[in-house]
């Protein structure tokens, strides 16, 4: 009985550590992405000064129509960020937000592996494989 309870205790302790790590990855990703998105938005209004008002004739629809173009591949994005365009920063923050759940899966693989939990490690690797596979598919089939 004594051995069982100490085993449970060490499992619990590991689990707490794991939860803390996953939580940390989430917080860094989420805070960083919202800071980048917010700065991008501020920069955007500085670069389009005529739009930063509540009482003029400019309409938001110039930016929300389907024909409004923005960097949607990595080389365009890099160029936009290097030119210090607000839109480039917003897209970078948005991409970081998309990557956050994938980082979470990746962290979980490491956690299950260090715990010596092979079945859950395989399960999580399988999830990451499907995830990256669907990403590749999305890039190929437009």
């Amino acid at each position: 009985m004594k051995d069982m309870s100490s085993l449970n205790y060490s499992r619990d302790k590991q689990l707490r550590k794991a939860e803390f790590l996953v939580s940390l990855v989430l917080q860094i990703g989420v805070v960083l992405s919202s800071v980048i998105i917010f700065s991008g938005l501020v920069l955007f209004f500085f670069q389009h000064a005529q739009t930063a008002s509540f009482l003029n004739n400019s309409s938001y629809q110039q930016f929300t129509v389907s024909s409004f173009s923005y960097p949607n591949n990595f080389s365009q994005l890099l160029r936009s960020v290097l030119r210090e365009q607000g839109v480039g920063f917003i897209v970078t923050g948005v991409l970081l937000l998309i990557i956050t759940p994938i980082l979470r899966v990746f962290t979980s693989i490491l956690l299950f592996f260090t715990q010596g939990d092979i079945p859950m490690t395989i399960v999580t690797i399988l999830v990451l494989t499907v995830l990256l596979g669907s990403f590749a598919l999305g890039m190929l089939v437009k």
Partner: protein, 279 residues
């Protein structure tokens, strides 16, 4: 409306969407898509792209608090994620084949069904102390959580893993198809299908929703469906709402969470049905 007024009003609506989303374990997407199309007259394709981002923001924002408070069952989440991600991949293929009207009507039926299932089985949701489920035992999926209302740790056993996997495949499929988190299907799959108590069920659902949404977000990005100007206020607003909502969740009684959940399901079902018939 000027661009600045657009950004600020949309950010405020997104805070509300994130708050409700976190409380009931749904993504903000179900609120964001109608707001963008009906209120701001934005193209439905761009609305869905922004919606999938709000779903990720809700999930990540809410999960920060849940994971800390140990409500999320990480093992169950990861195990079921196999089914949701495969479902999302096949759902992404089907989007181009099925007419939108049929999809909305199908989803409305699924929502009505979930609401009825929650209503009738809500009182009977019993916490198991023994499980004969071989898969659940093999992967040690069972867990426990600290309930702030009852002031004690509640252990629970998982069962019905095969049913859970099938339901999660459907949830992932619909998530990719409509650009929503489909927490409305994930929570009942765990709560009713696998005997997981409601609080860990909705926390684990939120945890899973982001991973499922990330599977289709890459495609939306490559297609140019994620407009940064629309997405920016939604991402920030939903994050603020989701973090606030998830801090409230553990202080609200399970019954209230369930009642809110059922009401939201019914409202969404009517909304979906209406959109299915009016186009």
């Amino acid at each position: 409306m000027t661009p600045l007024a657009f950004i600020i009003s949309l950010a405020l609506i997104s805070i509300l969407a994130g708050l409700i989303g976190a409380l009931v374990g749904l993504g903000g997407g179900v609120i964001i898509v109608p707001v963008l199309t009906l209120l701001y007259h934005i193209d439905i394709r761009l609305a869905i792209g922004a919606s999938i981002l709000s779903v990720i923001a809700t999930s990540s924002g809410a999960a920060i608090a849940y994971v800390k408070e140990s409500l999320t069952n990480l093992r169950v989440g990861m195990f079921l994620e196999i089914a949701t991600t495969i479902g999302a991949v096949s759902g992404a293929y089907m989007t181009t084949w099925l007419p939108g009207k049929i999809l909305f009507i199908l989803f409305a039926i699924v929502l009505f069904y979930s609401a009825i299932a929650m209503l009738t089985k809500r009182k009977q949701t019993e916490i198991l102390t023994v499980s004969n489920d071989k898969i659940a035992n093999f992967f040690h999926l069972h867990g426990e959580y600290y309930d702030e209302n009852e002031k004690k740790v509640i252990p629970y056993k998982i069962t019905g893993t095969k049913l859970g996997l099938v339901l999660m495949y459907i949830a992932g499929f619909i998530s990719a198809l409509l650009g929503v988190g489909s927490g409305a299907l994930k929570v009942p799959a765990m709560d009713l299908g696998m005997h997981m108590p409601i609080k860990p069920s909705s926390a684990t659902s939120d945890f899973m929703i982001g991973v499922t949404a990330a599977a289709s977000a890459g495609a939306y990005f490559a297609r140019g469906q994620i407009n940064p100007f629309i997405t920016a206020p939604i991402a920030i607003g939903v994050l603020i709402g989701a973090i606030t909502g998830s801090r409230l969740l553990n202080r609200i009684n399970s019954k209230y969470v369930s009642v809110i959940f059922i009401i939201v399901l019914l409202i969404l079902a009517i909304e979906m049905l209406q959109r299915g018939f009016t186009g």
